[in-house]
Assembly symmetry: C2
Homo-oligomer: 644 residues x 2
């Protein structure tokens, strides 16, 4: 039987399990890894405990793109720590300001058919190059760097079949918005979205990567495109044609389901506040007054986007009631934009130009005003993620965002007069000299005062008891659990400090209550832990004493983080039992009953009733979580080894 | 008798007093005012109480350049408030990101021989254009906008006589560093530094403005150059030649003192941590390992500086152990740099490019690492100002900073191989379209939740008593009293909140002790209140109950702020009495004895001794400070009016 593109990639990296059995446990080994300055601190702290001298991958790259404000010593300390650690372990390290990790990786390192494991949820961006790219938490990134396999459930493969051509003024971002409109923020869980059909060849690599990048918001394990002549042209332009190989699905490849999208029929779409899945045509909300526009993020502002913006702003200015900013995605994009004359029309239109970084997308600057309405080209608009608690963030294509900036209200770009836009990929991109550090000599790694050791967690008891400290609704994001924003990101490497802000947008009393109760249990609805890969969203509840989370279901990446850090994930056998539980109830859970298939008894001691839960974990993961997390388990193994 | 350039300007704006009597009280009326987003919130709150509909100046301009990080809603709320207030009062308002106030003002508005009163200590930057430009606190800026005179002591005029030409690789910044090396941070108090001699014509307006800008660090009331053909060329290049007039000192003009500087003999200089007055030749500290370089601020990074940097970085890269950043001074500089090819060599060298703003200079981003050593082209390096408490910040010319970035250690630029640099002022600068907002219609001004009303302060008693809550050394800066940095700047408009951080680098217990003691008295050495114009450095001690400050002497700008906000400034009659006082002593001050010349009795009740102090205030200012500040005084006058 023929293989899909995703299967061909998995075939190349699989080291355990059977890829023909969808949903079964498989292990894949990364050819490459990537990390960034926000999540990789934990990666290197973990790597330091794994007893290796040098990373075991073909290539591992560290980027500096998230924690870039440097309001005090903390970010700069982290950057120094990462520069030293990467020199020590043989990891390529980008300078702060060189660009956003996923976009720089597309330019310099991504290779079709190989496997990338990245410590960031938008890692699937490289799927635009035909690379299998999967986002993980920092600990799993460390394991991948140490040459250990990543264990996942073999994904189902969805065929996203594209036909036709995008109409004028409707750019590629609208394709992924259409996917989200159809399947929402958990429609991709357990799946790889593989793009096929005659529409594929109408899209260049940057456009494809916009789609695979934001595909993360569906909950998918990854998204991927074939590697074809457009891919070859991209790699040629970045002087890497020798790494190109063609990659396409076999004619008789079989998919598990299909999503048909006729590009001819697409209209400008927009995600409403505050979920990337609340997608509607721009027409439905046009005229809504806005305060701010952000052009940037890993999803957009490659060179094609900047050219489109230059084209629009050539004869248009930002409204007097709007503050607009551009974050170019990389320094390469800056240099090319300057060379090609794309920058000055944007500068002239009244747009602020920031350095290449994640910036406003995760609340590192450019937060909107109180109740501020912001239209952004970013992939995510979870509540408060912008840095302003009561924000109203809409997500759209650059053309929609630009038209809205000009008019001061949400505007369908087809209603704005600007010249037809044509973009040809440059034959050759400028190669800048100093985007990456040379390795430095490291006598001693500097741990700044904000960098605290990984906390120690105990092994679980056979029976765990505790109060339900929060009863949460559906779609709790990692932003809820562990806040984003310039005020909180710098303390991500300081678990005692960041834990004080856990669930701050939901219930500011939670951290104190959890400590006072000596821990407890969380209850949640569907899709618990959607969003970013930050493992702190698992570590800080654990640090506050949370032993187990009972939810209707979990987001894939967060589930893996819970296992790694020893928080027991449980799912209701009957979803209606969710209704019966009240915050404050005391629960007792028989963890000794935990198996991949079996029922686990939970006693609600307050209400004096019993109900059943199951665990979505494999037998191996159950063992890990019982140990209280992967680090405990590994330490124990090495202790056994020492005492043997 | 002939007049100096400064006297010719004063003659044009004086409305009270006798300019021939140095040190006497004079009143001058501003033709123009400027403000920025950090200090002008208080300006507009005050203006709102002055009962005018429209500013009374020829031109008032508001800039957005300090509070630009937007870590949450506060900065954006402030920007909206300022946009609305400026529309209401007829003030020109720049967009955030358009540029640094002083540099944009040089490009668009400064006029030789006119008087500018600005709510920022570096306002004398416009002296490079032959404008009399004086920095004040936000309240005095409001008064100036309302058409009220600014009362100052008629300055002494110092002749800074320049001969010769600057040697290669020794740029204009070294001239002001040489002035600081000679007279230190209070050598300019009560003076205007007027530049004369054949060396003047060798300097263009941008170079002159670098000198007048940083001249603020000497404590001078202002610094000024003549207006000549170079000034005309500058104004022509910015399409404002019609505003140019020639301005030079009369042949028989008389100066109060003279500083002779032979430019031929100048060498690269550098100010050591942590005072702009600790200037030595770069040679004395060359080889010192550095971590960071910041190129930017109101003092440097006009187009000539960017060209110089491009020239150096054409064939050189930033060291692997240095993080370097460029803040261009305005969007005009960005557009011109792009057009002329200055940007890509800088990008290629590994330098981060930020938007035009004050940025790292006042700790709004780019803080160095713990114990970090930073070489900066900024005007100020007070302790902790960078955002990192234990910073080690050196101040130097762009060429020294660039050479140090390349070598990784402090480096004399004459030791680095780079092509000879030649800069001709462009005949015409690009005029950008959307740097300034058009006025908007304002139904209601939005006061964000962080914007608190001006606190009410009581009238002083005839006798004030209190504990000496802090005994402070010489050269206490406004950064000590009211911290800079990205974490504190956003709460400057929230006096209760910012007061919690007063004197945080000296004694974190001060705010709580002050509250517990229901206020008290501060004792300080020389030059109390040097540095920035922030009036919060007067308001927050007052808010915490500080009634009087007894110092050896005061910085001019801060002294005016103390009067405006009702903190009584007193100076020791005999400086040795400073020694005798201990922190914790209870003092009783007979404020009813306060006159411009007379002794005021202070009883140290703890030690049971008496000593005498005087006040540096005029009879008018004594009246104001007794009222508990200018707003009290004005309110009382209007109450009298109402009841009369």
């Amino acid at each position: 039987m023929g293989l899909t593109v995703a299967e061909k990639c998995i075939k190349r990296s699989i080291v355990y399990g059977d890829m023909t059995k969808r949903g079964s446990r498989i292990g894949i080994r990364a050819h490459q890894t990537l990390g960034h300055d926000l999540n990789a601190i934990m990666t290197f702290l973990a790597l330091d405990q794994l007893g290796i001298d040098h990373v075991k991958t073909e290539l591992s790259v560290q980027y500096m793109d998230h924690n870039m404000i440097q309001a005090d010593y903390k970010n700069a300390d982290d950057h120094r720590f990462l520069q030293e650690m990467t020199s020590k372990y043989g990891v390529v390290c980008a300078r702060p300001g060189s660009g956003i990790c996923h976009q720089l990786h597309l330019e310099y390192f991504g290779i079709p058919s190989k496997t990338l494991i990245g410590g960031d949820s938008h890692t699937p961006c490289q799927g635009g190059l035909g690379m299998l790219a999967i986002g993980v938490g920092g600990f799993d990134a460390a394991m991948a760097m140490a040459g250990e396999p990543l264990y996942i459930k073999m994904p189902y493969i969805t065929n996203v079949h594209l036909t036709g051509h995008l109409p004028e003024k409707v750019s590629a971002k609208n394709i992924v918005l259409e996917v989200l409109r159809r399947i929402d923020v958990k429609g991709g869980v357990g799946k790889i979205l593989e793009y096929t059909g005659p529409g594929v060849k109408t899209l260049n690599v940057a456009e494809r990567s916009t789609i695979t990048n934001m595909g993360a918001e569906t909950g998918a394990t990854s998204s991927i495109f074939p590697s074809d002549e457009n891919t070859k042209a991209w790699m040629h332009a970045f002087h890497r044609e020798e790494d190109w190989i063609p990659l396409s699905a076999d004619k008789d490849a079989q998919y598990d389901d299909v999503i048909e999208i006729n590009l001819d029929k697409l209209v400008p779409l927009i995600a409403l506040p505050s979920s990337p899945g609340k997608v509607v045509p721009v027409r439905e909300v046009e005229g809504t007054k806005i305060d701010q526009v952000m052009l940037g993020s890993c999803t957009n502002t490659a060179l094609n986007d900047v050219k489109s913006l230059a084209n629009i702003f050539q004869n248009n200015e930002v409204s007097d009631t709007v503050d607009a900013a551009l974050y170019p995605s990389t320094k390469t994009v800056i240099a090319e934009s300057i060379k090609r004359g794309f920058f000055n029309p944007i500068v002239n239109a009244g747009i602020r130009i920031f350095e290449p970084m994640c910036g406003g997308c995760n609340g590192c600057g450019f937060a909107p005003q109180t109740h501020g309405v912001s239209v952004r080209t970013t992939p995510r608009n979870f509540p408060g993620r912008s840095g302003t608690k009561d924000d109203q963030v809409y997500l759209a294509a650059p053309e929609t965002a630009a038209a809205s900036a000009i008019k001061g209200v949400i505007t369908d770009p087809r209603d704005l007069d600007f010249p037809e836009y044509h973009y040809d990929l440059p034959n050759e991109f400028i190669q800048l000299d100093n985007l990456f550090y040379n390795p430095i000599h490291v006598d001693e790694v500097h741990y700044g005062p904000n960098l605290k050791p990984i906390p120690h967690f105990d092994r679980h008891q056979d029976t765990e008891s505790g109060e339900v400290l929060l009863k949460l609704p559906n779609n709790i994001t990692t932003d809820h659990i562990c806040p984003a924003g310039a005020l909180y990101l710098p303390i991500r490497s300081n678990i005692p400090e960041i834990s004080r802000h856990s669930f701050m947008t939901i219930d500011t009393t939670f951290p104190d209550r959890a400590k006072a109760a000596n821990g407890g249990i969380l209850v949640a609805g569907e899709n618990y832990g959607q969003g970013s890969s930050r493992e702190q969203a698992a570590i800080i509840p654990r640090y506050l004493g949370i032993k187990a989370i009972i939810a209707k279901d979990f987001a894939r990446l967060h589930l893996a983080n819970l296992v790694n850090w020893g928080v027991v994930p449980l799912t209701f056998k009957n979803d209606e039992d969710y209704q019966a539980i009240n915050q404050g109830d005391d629960l007792k859970i028989n963890l000794n009953e935990m198996t991949p298939d079996g029922d686990i008894t939970v006693t609600n001691e307050t209400q004096n009733i019993k109900f059943f839960v199951t665990t979505p974990l494999s037998i191996e993961d159950i063992e890990t979580v019982k140990w209280g997390g992967r680090l405990n388990q590994m330490r124990n193994r090495s202790d056994e080894h020492v005492t043997a």
